[in-house]
């Protein structure tokens, strides 16, 4: 399960992710993180059965946690199956099948949003 964690760093810089790993023993896979002086945002992947534990621990440490059920989604009525997104995605989420129709491997998506501006038909949207 993927979780989008956002946290403020104004009151110091607690190593939230490291602390959660230590406290829960869950091995968190950080797929993407942007952390600057005032705030941080990280997309993490955790085993489904430990999702609640990680989520609650993070919230207790002052983070906001958003559970992501889906990755990028495509509006079928707008998509023309050109494939402009295919080479843009760093995680190879998109591919064209043998009928040249666009296929999504949603589970690979790290919600970076790079594909969105590459789509000439504005057919792609992020889940958040």
């Amino acid at each position: 399960m993927k979780l989008l964690v956002t946290f403020s760093r104004k009151k110091g810089s607690k190593p939230i992710i490291a602390q959660v790993v230590r406290d829960t023993g869950v091995l968190i896979n950080v797929e993407r993180a942007i952390i600057d002086s005032s705030e941080g945002e990280a997309l993490i992947d955790v085993p489904d059965d430990q999702c609640e534990l990680v989520r609650n621990t993070m919230i207790n440490l002052g983070a906001n946690v958003h559970t992501l059920e889906h990755g990028i989604s495509v509006n079928e009525s707008e998509c023309i199956d050109c494939g402009a997104c295919v080479s843009i995605c760093p995680r190879e989420v998109f591919s064209l099948d043998s009928h040249w129709k666009l296929q999504l491997a949603e589970e690979k998506c790290v919600i970076c949003g790079k594909c969105i501006e590459a789509c000439p038909q504005q057919a792609l949207t992020l889940p958040i």
Binding site: A84, V86, S87, A118, P120, Q121
Partner: protein
């Protein structure tokens, strides 16, 4: 053996014509041989579905009461051409909305009309004795118009060069998003299904030939603008009735950071008259090559990195300098196939018959570049030749003095051979002074990645370098990387002194 167009049309009317798509044809020729294929196949249908910027439509609104001769015209806030008489206009696909910019444009107006949506017409006029009215605003549906005739000056490119980007910046182009450091390749075109690629000698495609255009039965007008069959880049000018079109085969689009364009579905049925037609329509993706160009070079003549076939491009990745680079198509092969299949159905059902050109299109013509009677400003016209530079082994304090004395904010740094090796700015010096540390020499604090320009470079290109890198000066260097001048944002002011702008 050969067949006449009349024999083929008779079979179409009888319902006995054998129609195949250009994608199916190579296998048929391989199986039956050229003679066999000629006997077997009567019509080959082609199709393409891609961004065709040079598109638009003539519209006639009918007269209002009291009547107006419209001079400035907007459709959903997208300006349309007002230089035609009274209530005629031409809406161009790439024209952008005054209010929504690249999110909405002429292509969207056309798609909205075809989709049955209402479009707001707003127009103004000086008012004349015969056309007294000065303004009008009204909501219109496609059915309210007398004529809505798509007329596209340049469609159906025979092929199109593939694009990549060698710079360190992301580029937003009409070839889509190009990632830095040749991070991807984008291409466009239906390859095996492309109309002109199946008739490169233009024996069958010419004026008056019936075509499939966005769902309507349209027609080839003649050669398209920038038609350049000599280099393998033939184009077509085509027309069709907007009222017969379907949004399935016509889509407005936005290339982020570039602008609005229209995706057009276009197909041409080719009569299989003789062996030459069989040979031409047996073309495969493997046989059609394009140049892979570096769009990182902002020039008309972009460097060609390699030749690449549509088969390679469509495979998902190509090789460049030993590395595998992923490819993206901008045109839709699935939709191109849909066009060719729909055209096949129409010909098979007798809904569409074929015709030979009433006037042939030149198949050998080259394209010319623009004749420029005056050159735009170049860097040498405005650069500051009084450039002060500093040696890399000088002390930071010396650099500070030079900056003050030279009344400049940028000091190009040179080595003992007078070669440019870095640059320091007032900011770098201030930082070094404010945080005294180990740095004593210019080379300790200089930036070694210097963006430069040359005297011959167009000012517009130099300005782009300043903007993209968020910097305010460029050292001007000669062929040996000697600094001969500096171009600063301040020098750009010289352009407004009346020397270049009249």
């Amino acid at each position: 053996m050969h067949k006449t167009i009349d024999q083929i049309n008779e079979r179409i009317r009888d319902g006995t014509a054998r129609v195949v798509t250009a994608e199916e044809m190579p296998a048929i020729v391989a199986e039956l041989g050229e003679e066999g294929a000629l006997k077997e196949v009567d019509v080959v249908t082609t199709g393409t579905f891609g961004a065709m910027c040079s598109s638009g439509a003539f519209l006639n609104f009918g007269h209002a009461e009291p009547p107006i001769r419209m001079e400035r015209i907007w459709l959903n806030n997208v300006e349309a051409y007002g230089g035609l008489a009274a209530v005629d206009t031409y809406i161009g696909a790439t024209q952008q909305s005054d209010t929504r910019e690249e999110q909405y444009g002429g292509a969207h107006v056309i798609e909205d009309l075809v989709s049955g949506k209402s479009v707001e017409l707003r127009a103004s006029s000086r008012g004349t004795d015969c056309y007294p009215r000065r303004t009008i605003t009204t909501d219109l549906l496609l059915e309210n118009l007398n004529q809505a005739i798509m007329c596209n000056p340049r469609n159906a490119y025979q092929r199109y060069n593939a694009a990549t980007n060698s710079t360190e910046h992301i580029l937003h182009t009409y070839m889509g998003v190009l990632l830095p450091n040749c991070g991807n390749v984008s291409f466009s075109g239906a390859g095996v299904l492309n109309p002109i690629s199946n008739d490169p000698k233009l024996r069958l495609i010419g004026s008056g030939v019936p075509i499939f255009l966005c769902g309507a039965q349209g027609m080839v007008i003649g050669e398209g603008t920038q038609h350049s069959p000599a280099g393998g880049f033939g184009t077509l000018m085509v027309t069709g009735d907007l009222k017969e079109m379907s949004p399935d085969y016509l889509r407005a689009a936005t290339m982020t950071g570039y602008g609005v364009t229209l995706y057009v579905g276009l197909g041409i049925p080719l009569p299989v008259l003789d062996i030459d037609v069989v040979r031409a329509t047996a073309v495969r993706d493997e046989d059609i090559f394009v140049d892979l160009l570096d769009y990182g070079v902002p020039s008309r003549s972009r460097p060609m990195l390699r030749k690449v076939s549509y088969a390679e491009l469509r495979s998902g990745a190509i090789e460049l300098n030993g590395e595998e680079i992923r490819t993206s198509s901008l045109s839709s092969f699935r939709k191109a196939r849909e066009v060719a299949m729909e055209l096949k159905r129409r010909v098979e059902s007798g809904a569409m018959q074929l015709a030979l050109p009433t006037r042939l299109i030149d198949s050998k013509k080259p394209v010319k570049s623009m004749h420029e009677s005056t050159k735009g400003p170049r860097v040498l016209d405005i650069m500051d030749r009084q450039v002060v530079s500093i040696g890399e082994d000088e002390e930071i304090r010396t650099a500070a003095k030079k900056l003050l004395k030279g009344d400049t904010n940028h000091l190009p740094v040179i080595n003992s051979d007078n070669i440019l090796v870095g640059i320091v700015t007032t900011f770098d010096i201030s930082k070094a002074v404010a945080n005294p540390g180990k740095a004593h020499l210019v080379k300790d604090i200089m930036r070694t990645k210097v963006i430069t320009t040359t005297p011959d470079e167009a000012v517009d290109i130099a300005v782009q370098k300043l903007e993209k890198n968020n910097i305010s000066a460029l050292p001007v260097v000669d062929g040996e990387n000697h600094v001969i001048a500096l171009l600063t944002a301040m020098d750009l002011g010289k352009l407004f002194g009346g020397r270049w702008l009249k």
